[in-house]
Symmetry: C2
Subunit: 291 residues, 2 copies
Amino acid sequence: MTFPNAGTTRVACAQLTLRVGDQEGNRAAARAAIERAAAAGAEVVVLPELTNSGYVFRDKAEAASLAEPLDGEAVADWTALARRHRMIVVGGLCELDEDGLIRNSAVLVDPTGLRAVHRKAHLFGTEHEIFVPGAELPPVVDTAVGRIGLLVCYDQEFPEYVRTLALRDADLLCVPVNWPLFPRPRGERPSEVIRVQANAAINRMFVAACDRTGTERDVVWTGGSVIVDLDGFPAAGPATGTDDALLIADCALTSARDKRVGEHNDVLGDRRPELYRSVIRSTHPLKEEAR
Amino acid sequence: MTFPNAGTTRVACAQLTLRVGDQEGNRAAARAAIERAAAAGAEVVVLPELTNSGYVFRDKAEAASLAEPLDGEAVADWTALARRHRMIVVGGLCELDEDGLIRNSAVLVDPTGLRAVHRKAHLFGTEHEIFVPGAELPPVVDTAVGRIGLLVCYDQEFPEYVRTLALRDADLLCVPVNWPLFPRPRGERPSEVIRVQANAAINRMFVAACDRTGTERDVVWTGGSVIVDLDGFPAAGPATGTDDALLIADCALTSARDKRVGEHNDVLGDRRPELYRSVIRSTHPLKEEAR
């Protein structure tokens, strides 16, 4: 598999309006968005969390009725388009897994087919009533353009978990998200965008987070998609407002393998792992021990 | 010890211009800044990194000539003022430790005297030529206004290390910093400020980072001091430009003990420590194992 732009990779976030329960409509919206990204020269396109189903389920039964397996129609659509356009698609999937469990997943497909699935490990809001959380390290996939890591939404608010991707040399982290709109001071970026920026800078790893727009059963989505560079600054976005958006950034992905800052520092090499032991303990035993 | 404002605590950052080698001048500048903070009603004031010495040493010998012990004049000054004004002072100290080693330290003093010292564990630039890094967890100090954690500058760029403070219930993280000015896109905040914001939001912990201003032997300081609230938004600052500044924010410090977000989430309780094991390993063994 070869791609144009050997030096840089064109990364896109296709921020979409989706409708819970409208499987046909959501599939069509995703296909159209991937086509638009391909037309803009994108080699990697990220879609929002739960692109096939929408997010605000009435109950687990509704989610179950919308979940589909990894060999279902959504992944088949994305794979066909990845093949046609010789690109990589990362999308959020309401997944019915091989054991019949419902998962909030991100998948990565490329022209060779399905390459990886990540099941959201940190569940937000009432998601515990619907999804079974993942219990694995997130995948890092060797692709033709570089090494791509996957997370889903709230996962990226746990920097210990994000770090595990950088430690396995992810060049680009792709994060399908659905960010509910929270109030914020005038002029401030959404807090989630700030976390994306920090994750990128702290790990010197590109991060593309693709959000939703619109309102779904009284939940307003932030629409804050952003692609962030190795210094933590937006290379595209953050998107604002309520419109669908196609963010495009040309990223020299393999430059993420150089973790140096200046002549003397290295953001991974400067770590002091022996001082971080408490982060792998549950909170309460640590409290007991430390006092 | 009692303080006014039972509900909130007035936290200050005294952003200063310092001069390397000018011990008398730096001590006077720190005293004046603490007095100004006290006059503004501050109950906690944070001073920059290496307040007593300045930062850009010619060599280790120069740093050694400026380092002072914990019972030296700088800490004595700060303690006297903490006692007079019934306040807490956190300041950066070029420290000569009990073994004759030079440390880049932060100290916390209150009206009862020296309460804690933290020795910078993550050294930046050429600091390895001068300082011996700390090898401990950073302290969390029970004070009359709440639990205060200490870090120094580059330490806060390691979110695994910051997390260890939140896991021990720090309400407020005080960080003396010296941020060299790096280029950034127009309209963007310094990357270091973004990291402070993310650390605060991710841990639901107040963070006060106090920077320097001016130019020292060709190093321009960012002057980006900031006090950030539990949602990751600035409560005061970020300071800009090249002036000394006194940032003031009234922070309901003990509200940091409530880690909930909405009805269903808790930023510490939602952690999955069993998935973070790789962060305590050194990078290379992990790489070997993961591939």
